[in-house]
Amino acid sequence: MSESAHAGQAIVPQARIGRRGRMSRVWRVLRKAPPTAWFGMIVIAIYLIAAVFAPLLAPYPETELVGGAFEPWGEQFILGTDQLGRDMLSRLIYGARNSVGIAFMTTMLSFILGSALGLMAAISRGWVDQVLSRAVDVLMSIPQLIFALVLLSIVGSSIFNLVVIIAVLDSTRVFRLSRSVAQGVVVMDYVEAARLRGEKLPWIMRREILPNIMAPLVAEFGLRFCFVFLTMSALSFLGLGIQPPTADWGSMVRDNAALITYGDVTPLLPAGAIALLTVAMNFVVDWFLHKTSGLRE
C-alpha cells in the first residue's frame, strides 16, 4: 500500500509538468500565428464578449421602443433607431447573442449528430454504413435552404424547430467528413488492439478514433458555423427564422432595408456584422488547417 502511494507521488508532479508543457506549447504556436489569424481571433473574441455581456454593454433594452422610427445617428442613439423606434446599437449587440448563440448551438448539435453517426458507419461498415450513407445521400440531394423552408412552414417556426431542422440538414456534411477521415484511422493496429481487448463501440469511438480526427473536425466546425449562420440569417431575412421581437441580424437587415433607398447605411450594419464574423472565422480556420495538415506554401 505504502509502495503504491509512493508511486502515486512520483507520477503526480510529472502529470503537472506535462500539462504546463502543453500550455506553453499552445502559446508558442499562437505567437507564430499570422496577422490574419490574429485578426480573426480578435474579432471572434469581441463577438463573444458582446454576446456574453450584451445586457451590460447595450445602452437600451433589446425590444423596448425608446424613440421615434428611423431616427438618424446622433448623440442619443449612436446608430439611430429602427422602423419601430428601437435602438439600433442595442439590437446589434443583442443580435450577436441571439444569432451567434443559436448558430453555435445548431452547429454543435449537427456535429454531435453527424460525427457520432459518421464514426459508427466507419467502424461498423457493412449494412449500418450502407443505410446511414444512403440516407445522407437522400438528404443531401435536396437543396438545403428550400428543404428547410418547406419543413419550417410545415412544423412552424420556433427556435427549437429551427435549431433541430438546420442541425439535421447540416449534419449530413459532418457525417461525410467524419466517416471518411475515420475510415483511415479504423484500419490502424491500435484500433484492432482495442477491439481485441474487448472494448465496446462507444469507447473505440470516443477514445481511439475521435482524438485522431479532431483536427479536421475542428476546422470543419468553423466553416460549418459560418454556413449555419448564413442559413439562419437567410431564413430570418425570408421571415421564417428567428421571430420578432427577438433581435436578429438577418431580420434586422430585412426590416430596415427601406432605408437604403434614402442613402442610409444603417441596414448594412447587421449585414456587415455577419460578413465580418464569416471572414474572421475563415481566417482562423485557414490558419488552423494549415497548421495541422503540415502544408507548406
Binding site: A7, A10, I11, Q14, G18, L196, R197, G198, P211
Partner: protein, 554 residues
C-alpha cells in the same frame, strides 16, 4: 550466370563522382538541423560503393545528394558534389535535370509506389530515353525487352505490356532497374532495392542487379541496412551513423577486420542465440484450420500448429504464406471455415465477439509497426493503464503503481508516463507495446514481425527483453517472422509455412539442420550470409530458379 565473378575482380575506371565535405540540413518546426555532417567519398567508373547504417544515419539523403537533389524539407548547405567534372551543386537546375535519368539513375525502395499504376511497364521504362530523344520508340522498346531478358524477367517480350499491379514485387523491382538502365547511365543509386522483398525473391533481384551493373560497367551506390546484402554487392563499404562516416574499407577487409566499435557491434548482432528447450503441455493447439477472406480466397488450408506452455514457436514464411492470417484466426478476428482453436484444453469460440473478457486477456498481441500500434493521442500512462483498468479493475494509486512496475519490467522508468508515442524512439515504442500486452497478464503473446521495423541493434534489445520476460513470467510466444536470424535467436520450435499450408514443424535444431523439405531448403539457403562469395556460390549451386521451384511446388 557464369560471368558472375567475385566482386573484387571488377575493373575500375577513372574518377566519376567526387563528394567532398557534404553537409545537408533538414527542417523541423522551422529550425534547420544538420542531417549529414561532412561526408566525403569518391567513386570510380564501374565501382560499387555500399552505404550502410541504421535508419536516420543519412544514407538515403546522401544517395539523393549524389544526384544534386535534396528532398522536400532538406537543403544541401555545404560541400561539393562533382559528377564527371560537373559541379552538380553549382550547375543550373536544367543541367541537373538533363543528367538525371540519362547519366545518373535512381532505383527506389518501393517499386510498387514508384510506378504509375495507369501506364504499362514498358511505357514507363522507355520514358526517359524518349524524352531525351536518344532513340525512337521502336528501338527503345526493343532495347527494353532485351534488358528485361538480361534481368531474367519471365517472358521478357510480353511482361512490359502489363500494368504494374499485374506483376509481382520482385519483378517490379527488376523492371525498375531496367528503367534505370535504358539510358546506360554512368551511375545508378540503389536505395534499399530489396528491403521490401522476401528472401527468396531478394536473391533473384540481387543477382540480376549485380550482373547488369557488371555487364554495362556501371558505377553504383548501393544503400542498405543489411550487411549481408551489401557484402554481396559492393566493392567498398562505408558505414554511416548520425550523418557522419564511421569507417570505410574494401568489402573483404571490412568484413574480416572492422576497426570501429560501432561497426563491430553491427557485425555481432546476428550472433544472438538461445538454447532450445523441449516442449511441455500445449497451451494452444490450432487444429486443421482452414480460413478464407470472403468465400473465394483461401488463405489457410488445414493448418495444425501447437504451442507448448512457456516456449516460443516461430512461424516462418514469405509474405502471402498465411502467417498473419493465422494470427487473425487465433485472436478471433477472422473466424475459420473449418477447424478448432484449443486454448488451455478448451475449444475457443471462433469469433471475437463470443469470447469472454478473460479469454481475451489471456491472448495478447504485439504488432509489427509500433507507430500504428500505439494511438498517437494517448500517453504511455493511458496505453498501459487501460488494460490494467479494463481487465483487473484497478484505478488510482494501485493502477499507477502497476504501471510503474510494468515500465520497470520493460527497462524503462516512470519518467515516461506522460510521453506521447511521438516523443519515443522506435525501440521504446515497441517496448510500450510489450508493456501493454503484459499489463493484461497474458499466457500467450502473439508477436507479429515485432522486430522487422526496427534497426538491428534495437532488434537485439527487444529480443533479449522478450526472452527475459519468458524466463521470468513463463509466458508463451507465437512468433511470426520472415527473418531466419530472429528465428535462430529466440525460438524453441519452428513452423514453416508456404502458401497457406504448414510445410514443416518441429524443434529448432531439427528444422534448421538437413535434410530439409524442398521449400525449407530454398528458404534457408536464400538468407544472405556475411560472406562476399555467398551469392556467387549459391547461384552456382542452384539449378532451378526459386520462381520455377515454387511454381512446381504449388
Amino acid at each position: 550466370m557464369n560471368n558472375a565473378k567475385p566482386s573484387s575482380t571488377r575493373t575500375k575506371g577513372d574518377l566519376l563522382l567526387e563528394i567532398r565535405n557534404l553537409q545537408i540540413e533538414g527542417e523541423s518546426d522551422e529550425v534547420w538541423r544538420p542531417i549529414v555532417k561532412g561526408v566525403d567519398f569518391t567513386l570510380k567508373r564501374g565501382e560499387v560503393l555500399g552505404l550502410i547504417g541504421e535508419s536516420g544515419a543519412g544514407k538515403s539523403t546522401i544517395g539523393l545528394a549524389a544526384m544534386g537533389y535534396a528532398r522536400g524539407g532538406c537543403r544541401i548547405s555545404g560541400g561539393s558534389v562533382v559528377f564527371d567534372g560537373i559541379d552538380l551543386l553549382a550547375a543550373s537546375e536544367e543541367t541537373r535535370r538533363k543528367l538525371r535519368g540519362s547519366r545518373i539513375a535512381y532505383v527506389a525502395q518501393s517499386a510498387a509506389a514508384s510506378f504509375n499504376p495507369a501506364h504499362r511497364l514498358i511505357e514507363q521504362t522507355i520514358e526517359a530515353e524518349l524524352r531525351e530523344g536518344l532513340r525512337t520508340a521502336a528501338d527503345a522498346e526493343k532495347d527494353a525487352i532485351e534488358l528485361y531478358g538480361r534481368l531474367r524477367l519471365p517472358n521478357p517480350g510480353e511482361i512490359g505490356f502489363r500494368y504494374p499491379h499485374q506483376v509481382s514485387g520482385g519483378q517490379l523491382q527488376r523492371a525498375m532497374t531496367a528503367m534505370a538502365m535504358t539510358c546506360r547511365p554512368d551511375l545508378i543509386i540503389f536505395d534499399e532495392p530489396t528491403t521490401a522483398l522476401d528472401v527468396t525473391t531478394q536473391v533473384e533481384v540481387l543477382a540480376a542487379i549485380r550482373d547488369i551493373v557488371e555487364q554495362f560497367h556501371t558505377a553504383a551506390i548501393y544503400i542498405t541496412h543489411d550487411l549481408a546484402v551489401v557484402a554481396q554487392m559492393a566493392d567498398r563499404i562505408k558505414v554511416l551513423r548520425y550523418g557522419k562516416q564511421v569507417e570505410e574499407a574494401p568489402t573483404r577487409e571490412m568484413l574480416t577486420n572492422p576497426r570501429e566499435d560501432y561497426t563491430k557491434s553491427l557485425w555481432s548482432v546476428r550472433k544472438l542465440g538461445k538454447q532450445e528447450q523441449a516442449g511441455g503441455e500445449p497451451i494452444l493447439q490450432v487444429k486443421n484450420v482452414t480460413a478464407a477472406y470472403g468465400n473465394t480466397v483461401r488463405v489457410l488450408s488445414n493448418v495444425t500448429v501447437t504451442v507448448p506452455r512457456g516456449r516460443t514457436v516461430a512461424v516462418v514464411g514469405e509474405s502471402g504464406s498465411g502467417k498473419s492470417t493465422l494470427a487473425r484466426v487465433i485472436t478471433g478476428l477472422l473466424p475459420p471455415i473449418e477447424g478448432q482453436i484449443i486454448f488451455n484444453g478448451e475449444a475457443l469460440p471462433p469469433a471475437l465477439k463470443e469470447r469472454s473478457s478473460d479469454t481475451l486477456r489471456r491472448i495478447q498481441m504485439i504488432y509489427q509497426m509500433p507507430d500504428t500500434a500505439l494511438n498517437p493521442r494517448q500517453t504511455v500512462y493511458e496505453v498501459i493503464g487501460r488494460p490494467i483498468e479494463f481487465y483487473r479493475g484497478l484505478t488510482g494509486a494501485k493502477k499507477e503503481a502497476r504501471i510503474v512496475e510494468l515500465l520497470k519490467l520493460i527497462e524503462m522508468d516512470e519518467s515516461y508516463v506522460d510521453r506521447l508515442p511521438s516523443e519515443l524512439s522506435g525501440g521504446q515504442k515497441q517496448r510500450i507495446c510489450i508493456a501493454r500486452a503484459l499489463a493484461a497478464e497474458p499466457e500467450l503473446i502473439i508477436c507479429d514481425e515485432v522486430t522487422s521495423a526496427l534497426d538491428q541493434i534495437v532488434q537485439e534489445g527487444i529480443l533479449q527483453l522478450l526472452m527475459r520476460l519468458q524466463r521470468e513470467l513463463n509466458v508463451s510466444y507465437l512468433f511470426i517472422t520472415h527473418d531466419i536470424a530472429t528465428v535462430r535467436a529466440i525460438s524453441d520450435e519452428i513452423v514453416v509455412m508456404f502458401q497457406g499450408r504448414v510445410v514443416q514443424q518441429g524443434p529448432k535444431t531439427q528444422v534448421l539442420s538437413p535434410p530439409h523439405p524442398p521449400y525449407t531448403e530454398l528458404l534457408l539457403s536464400s538468407v544472405p550470409e556475411m560472406d562476399p562469395d555467398w551469392l556467387t556460390n549459391l547461384l552456382a549451386r542452384r539449378k532451378v530458379t526459386p520462381e520455377a521451384m515454387k511454381a512446381g511446388d504449388r
